[in-house]
Symmetry: C2
Subunit: 325 residues, 2 copies
Amino acid sequence: MKAAGRQRTGWRGARGARSASVEPTGHSLEGLYAELVAHKLIIPVGVPGIFGRGAVFERVLRRFAAVISGVAERDGAEVMVFPPTIDRRVLEKSEYLDSFPNLAGSVFSFVGDEAEHAALSEAVHAGASWEAWQRMTEVVLAPAACYPVYPTLSGTIPAGGRVVDTESWVFRHEPSPEPTRMQAFRVRELVRVGTPEEVLEWRQSWIERGVELLRTLGLDARSEVAADPFFGRGGRLLAANQREQQLKFEVRVPILSETEPTAVCSFNYHQDHFGKIFDIRLPSGAVAHTACLGFGLERCVMALFRTHGMEPAQWPTRVRDALAA
Amino acid sequence: MKAAGRQRTGWRGARGARSASVEPTGHSLEGLYAELVAHKLIIPVGVPGIFGRGAVFERVLRRFAAVISGVAERDGAEVMVFPPTIDRRVLEKSEYLDSFPNLAGSVFSFVGDEAEHAALSEAVHAGASWEAWQRMTEVVLAPAACYPVYPTLSGTIPAGGRVVDTESWVFRHEPSPEPTRMQAFRVRELVRVGTPEEVLEWRQSWIERGVELLRTLGLDARSEVAADPFFGRGGRLLAANQREQQLKFEVRVPILSETEPTAVCSFNYHQDHFGKIFDIRLPSGAVAHTACLGFGLERCVMALFRTHGMEPAQWPTRVRDALAA
């Protein structure tokens, strides 16, 4: 509640400094988008959920990511960075397409001769579909930053397990005018592999550290049990099961609504799902367990702007200090 | 030539510190890839041209990018960051598909009901193609970092023009075992828009600054007129024309070969191509001209490891100082 109090003060404080042409609109969807655009924090490109980030937005994002790095380093995390395009087989093996077929993005390309190229070009210039001249490639878009990490863990892990720190652009095919629901965004993700006890203890400690980290930045963060948006009617059962087993937690912060806060960080315990698929083993020979946590970097940054106002120079000193550290 | 001398010394100096299991192989293709993997600088994923980057590789890359930032800031460049997925219409309008249809990547996704999803899942589990259940979306992969910048410049630019500093993951569908020929990589790109004179003067100054920047880092950099790999037989004519008009320059550094150095930076003068397409105008009302330059960040980093050895701690002090600045 203290964090919420600071939030309102910071928000009002910054409001006075904004240009008069931007009307205050409270926690509404259109209000946030319009304000982010008016302050050049985001740059519309004509496709919902795909926008550019301005210099100030980006600087805050990198500083926020550096705060996570600081905590992850104390965990002895190994840094790995993967491209936004990953091996298609990882998506196929991991059963992502069973659960979220509608969100996945696959990469297609042209393979053909000059006659086919002429037909492709003609379609493009005529404003017609050129879909017919595209073939599936070996890569897909990463649906989460952790997916390319698991295959690199195959084999026997050392006693005590491993922690990996990764950041990646991820893709979700869900066009929306909501600024927090993006098709492309960056996730800073930590992956833990080890015994069930090691993994669960790590997850619990990170739920606490994640909430604390966000509260230090003046955000009204709360953790709760959550479930994924599985596809189709069968998905409801999967979600109920996930919730019952407490496999997923989210940390939520008010961005668009005080009463329905937005998830900015999620914690998933996969049990032996990835261990089995990618043959990751404990020194005992048993299948290793995994968990991951991901900070949605753009959402965290939007929460900061929403909470403290559109001008970082006017944010509370303790927030600016925490980001500069 | 002095740079080349330092290069060999640095390279040999580091060689002694490497694990004995990695055989020195000179400037060969397989040698570089094996060494980068052995030193955990890159992490193979099973698809050529798509690999992970280790902590040390990534740290060098970020420091190298910071050196470019330092120079760009003195130009008064505005920072913009775009996702790796861009508006499909930008690719269509810009005529990229006329010239490089084979390199472009488009994003497809599943749109269907539960019965179609069942068929998709069945295909995936059977190891069969699931291409038939994918439809073209509104986004494509960025073929170069500058593409999403041009539409944001539409309208009348201020006197003196503008400079934009951007960095993005780009995609080129050209699977290859060569470590320097990637399907996914990051390009740090600067875009200049203005009068023809402003744009050409800026490009010339950056060719000089680009070479100087790389030489300061001990790289044997040389600039030369170049041409793009246009598709098809007609492409040869386009390339000859581009070369004759000196529209493209590249800065090359020996990475895989002393005699055939690799392009690490390219400078393109588009004349009024993008200005016309995206209606970018000078204060006079005339169509603005544009130029861009892009540093292939992974190639620059590989050039550093190739030149100075696999252990940054053993790089020449002046190189480490230049990267730390």
